[in-house]
């Protein structure tokens, strides 16, 4: 490996700033994520958590700063190019194709035939079908493959979206509130799922549910008003007086 300082990290965000009409939603942010790391960002409403994800995946353009993923600069790329570099992102509300079946949802996400003509002549080979079945099993939806996605329960929709990302085998997986609206049992299952899928890739999660965060996080960053308030292991962060003040004072 080269001697550059950040090569060890899968994702390195440095000095990232974005402002909307003078309001700095994210302010000189620095954030590093390792391979195999499951990193959780927490913070009160309006702290800029979702904006950070938007910046990484290219939905929002930064005002200044850099985002390097596997040593490639992302800020100049368009959304689909960033995805093709290996970054997957789940949205806050489940974003799936309600009119397509679960199978078709996964098939559409399959990382082949991504061009216009590629998709016209895309063949549903056994390889594709096997891969879809494998992912469906992983996200506990194998029995629902033919169900129209709109008919799934809220939790199942969340899983489906995660599955649609997994089928692309991303190196960085970003999940915005993956257990929102889930039952206790579904949370359990999701925690297991997240632990399993963080092997071999980096995972960046935004979450409110502290109990859940404690269960899954390798590392936690607390964001407040666009800036990092604290970072480190969950138990350390929880003791931090600044963090307590922000959460209680809120």
């Amino acid at each position: 490996m080269s001697s550059m300082t950040n090569t060890d990290f899968s994702l390195s965000i440095e000095d990232l700033t974005v402002s909307f009409d003078g309001f700095k939603a994210v302010d000189s942010l620095n954030l590093y994520i390792d391979k195999n790391e499951l990193h959780v960002v927490i913070g009160p409403n309006g702290a800029g958590k979702t904006t950070v994800l938007d910046l990484i995946c290219g939905k929002t353009k930064s005002t200044s700063g850099s985002i390097k993923f596997l040593n490639q600069e992302l800020t100049t790329l368009s959304e689909h190019e960033i995805v093709r570099r290996g970054v997957g992102r789940k949205f806050q509300t489940p974003s799936i194709y309600e009119n397509l079946s679960v199978f078709e949802n996964l098939e559409v996400s399959y990382p082949e035939g991504r061009g216009v003509f590629g998709s016209l002549f895309f063949k549903r080979s056994t390889k594709v079908i096997d891969e879809i079945h494998r992912i469906a099993q992983e996200i506990m939806l194998e029995s629902e493959l033919e169900t129209e996605a709109g008919l799934l329960s809220h939790g199942q929709k969340q899983w489906l979206e995660i599955g649609m990302l997994l089928i692309q085998d991303p190196q960085l997986l970003m999940l915005d509130e993956p257990v929102a609206g889930m039952s206790v049992k579904e949370r359990e299952q999701t925690a297991v799922l997240l632990n399993k899928i963080s092997k071999g890739r980096s995972v960046l999660v935004i979450e409110h549910d502290m109990e859940f965060v404690a269960r899954i996080a390798h590392k936690v960053t607390v964001l407040h008003q666009g800036k990092i308030l604290a970072a480190g292991k969950m138990e350390d962060v929880q003791k931090d007086p600044k963090v307590i003040e922000v959460y209680l004072g809120h």
């Binding site: 995946c57 939905k59 368009s78 959304e79 689909h80 995805v83 093709r84 997957g88 992102r89 949205f91 974003s95 799936i96 194709y97 309600e98 009119n99 397509l100 079946s101 199978f103 078709e104 098939e107 559409v108 996400s109 990382p111 035939g113 991504r114 061009g115 216009v116 998709s119 016209l120 002549f121 895309f122 549903r124 493959l145 033919e146 979206e161 649609m164 692309q168």
Partner: protein, 383 residues
């Protein structure tokens, strides 16, 4: 074989639907109707091309164009330019101050054929132009709009404005375009009398053949992964984008294809009706095309053919007997379709015929139970 069956004909119900339509337009109409009525049907069917282009673009792609008249008109004008040049031979136009150019140019003191008219003396070039010019124009608009992520309502309004621009331009530059009268008095195609009965039958059958070809081609697109992506883009554009697709390219492609399909309709219109005018380019015809699609069912390639036929037939009959009522009926249909039958005729058919068919089938083969089929993952294209 199964490729053809599944992908091009759209499986069992799709193939059946196509078969019924083909028999209707290829056999029943020519046998049942006199030349005059058949020619009318032929004219209506050219609008069906535009309506089908909207199925792809709007029904599946979720992008409503209020400017399909642009492409219908461009196709029609390309064909009309060729025919007009043929009709403007120096012998036919000896009476003009400059023989050999179209009459309307002569009236507007133009003494030389404009450069962009010249290539249209070649039939081959004209056919190429009908296929390429509208698609290219759509490509330019598409790149400019979709790459900048102009969509939805804004796209609809901007396409409408482009239709207005084109109409004003055609009307204003009448020395080059024939103005508001359009390009008229087209009689022969390669020396062959277009107005004869045999020609009319031939054009009718060519029109039908092209229509069926377009349906089959569109089916291929819609049953491919591209088709599912279109639906996906319609429902959750961002999700598609964040699954690694350059969404704009897909929209541009389907917009170009839709333009091409409309243009074929326009060219066939000119051949069968014998003239082309700016009244097929502007806002009103463009919105009427949307009506045809909405009434037939915006998700059904075959449904819109029936929708187009029904509306136009209604227009002809009603305006003959109750011209007063026609606009009320048209407006009412429009509102009713939007509010109560968003899937149009095709939706109604599905709702009422499918249970009926099931009942009949159950009576005939009571022992057959649902079994998993190999095509169980196929996208359901409605009829």
């Amino acid at each position: 074989m199964s490729f053809i069956y599944d992908k091009l004909l759209g499986g069992k119900s799709g193939a059946l639907g196509l078969l019924v339509l083909s028999i209707l337009i290829l056999v029943v109409f020519p046998l049942a109707l006199d030349g005059f009525r058949l020619n009318l049907i032929g004219k209506y069917l050219t609008y069906a091309f535009a309506a089908m282009s909207l199925v792809l673009l709007w029904g599946y792609g979720g992008t409503l164009s209020l400017g399909q008249g642009i492409f219908f008109g461009l196709g029609g004008y390309c064909m009309a330019m060729f025919l007009k040049l043929e009709a403007s031979s120096p012998e036919n136009t000896a009476i003009q101050s400059t023989p050999g150019i179209p009459d309307f140019m002569d009236w507007n003191q133009i003494t030389e054929l404009p450069w962009f008219w010249e290539p249209f003396s070649s039939f081959g070039f004209t056919i190429a132009a009908i296929l390429i010019v509208p698609a290219l124009f759509a490509y330019i608009i598409g790149v400019a709009m979709f790459k900048r992520r102009v969509g939805g309502v804004y796209f609809a309004i901007i396409t409408q404005v482009i239709a207005v621009i084109l109409t004003v331009l055609i009307v204003g530059q009448q020395g080059f375009t024939g103005g508001i009268n359009g390009i008229t008095d087209l009689r022969t195609l390669n020396g062959w009398d277009m107005t004869s009965d045999s020609a009319k039958y031939l054009f009718y059958y060519i029109n039908c053949a092209l229509l069926i070809t377009v349906i089959v081609l569109s089916r291929f697109i819609l049953t491919s992964k591209f088709g599912r992506l279109l639906l996906a883009i319609r429902d959750k554009e961002d999700r598609v984008r964040f699954s690694g697709y350059d969404v704009a390219n897909f929209k541009i492609f389907i917009f170009c294809f839709a333009a091409l399909v409309s243009a074929i309709g326009g060219a066939m219109f000119t051949l069968q009706v014998g003239f082309m005018s700016p009244s097929f380019v502007g806002i009103v015809p463009s919105i009427e095309m949307v009506i045809f699609a909405a009434v037939g069912g915006r998700m059904s390639l075959i449904g819109v053919v029936y929708g187009t036929l029904l509306i136009n037939f209604g227009k002809t009959t009603f305006s003959e007997s109750f011209p007063e009522l026609w606009l009320f009926l048209m407006g009412g249909t429009f509102i009713a379709v939007v509010m109560f039958f968003p899937n149009g005729l095709a939706g109604l058919w599905e709702e009422y015929s499918t249970p009926l068919m099931k009942k009949i089938r159950a009576k005939i083969q009571p022992s057959v139970t649902a079994k998993p089929s190999s095509s169980s993952y196929e996208t359901k294209e409605s009829k």
